[in-house]
């Protein structure tokens, strides 16, 4: 009997722990959302003063904030598309073909992910400085594509590895040439992975601070705006945009979970 009780306690202790841990993970998010409705006195939005909708109504009242967001979105759109195309091509080569230099390629893809961001940013700035390339929009996009490629390769590769090659062989047997097979069979099958890579790249780009800080020149992306405003007290509108990004990303992720579950059910 007593072993029954200890087993039950152990069972529920882990569940209780999981609940506490979830609370810990969500706490700062709750704070960000709550403080977007705060009515701060003075310039620091640290302590709760009172509920207001003004920050949401006047989300664009802070000079430079919406411009920085638009810049971030433009950079993310451009960088994620370029990186996803380049990364998908690398993933195709790695999974589909045997060639010399495979392990070197894997290493080159893996290295940027395991290098501290500050070193990536510093080395790019060293390059731009010594070649006298002015930093700005273009250098930010270049840097973002560089660090996103690896993530795109990993994302698309994971899908390609578990993919039934017989489908392509069947297409070839039916007389399709390589290009047609790719377009009609391969591409539709890996499209979800490409979409995931695109979304991941977009998210990584919008969120990047460290590398961008080094190569931005006079441009101010959204994270750079937050950094600059943090020194003098970030306005609650920063929380408004932070909350908006969170809700959009969460909606996209939830949609993905639902689609995956449906696909898994369909496959059964």
């Amino acid at each position: 009997m007593s072993s029954h009780i200890t087993a039950a306690v152990r069972h529920h202790a882990l569940t209780a722990y999981a609940l506490v841990a979830f609370g810990y993970l969500l706490l700062p998010i709750a704070v960000v959302i709550a403080f977007s409705f705060n009515d701060p006195v003075g310039r620091f939005n640290y302590t709760w003063q009172g509920f207001t909708l003004d920050n949401w109504r006047n989300w664009d009242a802070v000079p430079g904030l919406s411009e920085s967001m638009i810049l971030s979105l433009q950079i993310a759109a451009l960088a994620s598309v370029v990186a996803t195309v380049l990364g998908t091509l690398i993933a195709l080569a790695l999974v589909r073909y045997g060639f010399r230099g495979r392990s070197a390629t894997n290493l080159l893809v893996f290295l940027p992910m395991s290098t501290p961001e500050i070193v990536l940013g510093a080395s790019l700035l060293a390059l731009f400085l010594q070649l006298r390339i002015a930093t700005g929009f273009v250098t930010i996009v270049i840097a973002h594509v560089m660090f996103i490629i690896s993530y795109a390769v990993v994302t698309v590769k994971a899908r390609l590895v578990g993919f039934d090659r017989h489908l392509e062989e069947a297409a070839a047997d039916l007389g399709a040439d390589e290009w047609t097979t790719f377009r009609k069979v391969t591409l539709p099958l890996i499209a979800p992975a490409i979409l995931s890579a695109l979304l991941l790249g977009f998210a990584l780009s919008v969120d990047d601070f460290v590398i961008t800080y080094f190569v931005s020149g006079a441009e101010t992306t959204f994270p750079l705006f937050v950094w600059g405003s943090a020194r003098v007290g970030a306005p609650p509108q920063v929380n408004v945009l932070g909350t908006a990004i969170f809700v959009l990303a969460l909606a996209a992720a939830l949609l993905n979970v639902v689609l995956q579950n449906r696909r898994a059910k369909g496959a059964q």
């Binding site: 700062p28 091509l89 195709l92 080159l108 501290p116 060293a126 390059l127 080094f214 932070g242």
Partner: protein, 285 residues
């Protein structure tokens, strides 16, 4: 297409070329420039010139070994705490999550949906002198009356732990999720206690996840400067803060470049020791 058909061996290289060229030009070449810059001497006013100034490295280590050591200790602590916090959580999701696994996993990555800087600022307000955490700790008596959380090493390590925890949890989850439940049944059929089954089956099989998670958490944490900047004071500054300010504020490029390589060397050395101590043959199966 006809040409490619005759030269099939070329296809992989054509697929690789644009992406690898990008990585070569904007990742490898810049590291070369950084190395070149780390061996220059001079001053901001008169310019820097390359002259094999290896002295930059000795000076970097001599002047900033405390920052370097602090970075490794803070990052190490954050990694260990992130492992301790996420292992039971991820275990629960993998073995008790049922059909809601993906949803629970989403909660783990939810912090990533809030901009990095904004979630760190949220910790600033949670740990602040007027925040409820400090209130509670004072009431319980863990923190004395005049004590603080913000602007202490505790705050910096807490920030690092939270910000990089998903990097620990996701590879751990992948490793635990793949464990065949029949192995655990077999262990119990052979009269292993639950604890023994965990120690002899689950834990060893999860080691690749522990290894990957540790690296993915430790490396970015060791190079971070945002947590020390927003949650600490100059007394908690890490090597990243020094590199950042030398590069962007003091315009002392050679010192900043040398420090970057010292950081990389320290990370590579630690990772090598760590990989050896876990046993690479165990990890690669």
């Amino acid at each position: 297409m006809g040409y490619l058909h005759r030269h099939r061996g070329l296809v992989p290289y054509l697929l690789l070329a644009p992406g690898l060229a990008w990585l070569a030009v904007f990742f490898i070449v810049p590291l070369g420039f950084l190395a070149y810059q780390s061996l220059q001497s001079g001053s901001f006013d008169f310019g820097y010139a390359f002259d094999w100034s290896f002295g930059n490295y000795w000076e970097a280590i001599d002047r900033y070994h405390e920052h370097l050591l602090r970075s490794l200790i803070y990052a190490g602590l954050a990694t260990v705490i992130a492992l301790a916090v996420s292992y039971p959580l991820v275990y629960w999701i993998a073995f008790r999550g049922g059909r809601w696994k993906n949803l629970f996993l989403l909660v783990i990555i939810a912090p990533f949906f809030v901009t990095y800087l904004i979630r760190t600022l949220a910790w600033q307000s949670i740990l602040s002198d007027s925040g409820f955490v400090l209130d509670a700790l004072r009431t319980v008596g863990i923190v004395e009356a005049g004590g603080r959380l913000l602007a202490t090493p505790v705050a910096v390590v807490a920030g690092l732990t939270y910000n990089f925890l998903p990097f620990m949890a996701l590879p751990l989850y992948v490793a635990l999720e793949q464990i065949d439940a029949r192995l655990l049944e077999a262990a119990q059929d052979l009269y292993a206690s639950k604890v023994a089954a965990f120690l002899r089956v689950t834990l060893p099989l999860s080691l690749p996840g522990v290894f990957a998670g540790t690296l993915l958490t430790f490396i970015p944490a060791a190079g971070d400067f945002i947590n020390a900047q927003l949650l600490g004071t100059p007394r908690e500054h890490m090597i990243g803060n020094v590199i950042q300010s030398k590069f962007l504020e003091l315009i002392d490029y050679p010192a900043a470049a040398a420090l970057s390589f010292v950081l990389m060397a320290a990370i590579v050395a630690l990772v090598a020791v760590y990989a050896r101590s876990l046993g690479t043959e165990k990890l690669t199966g």
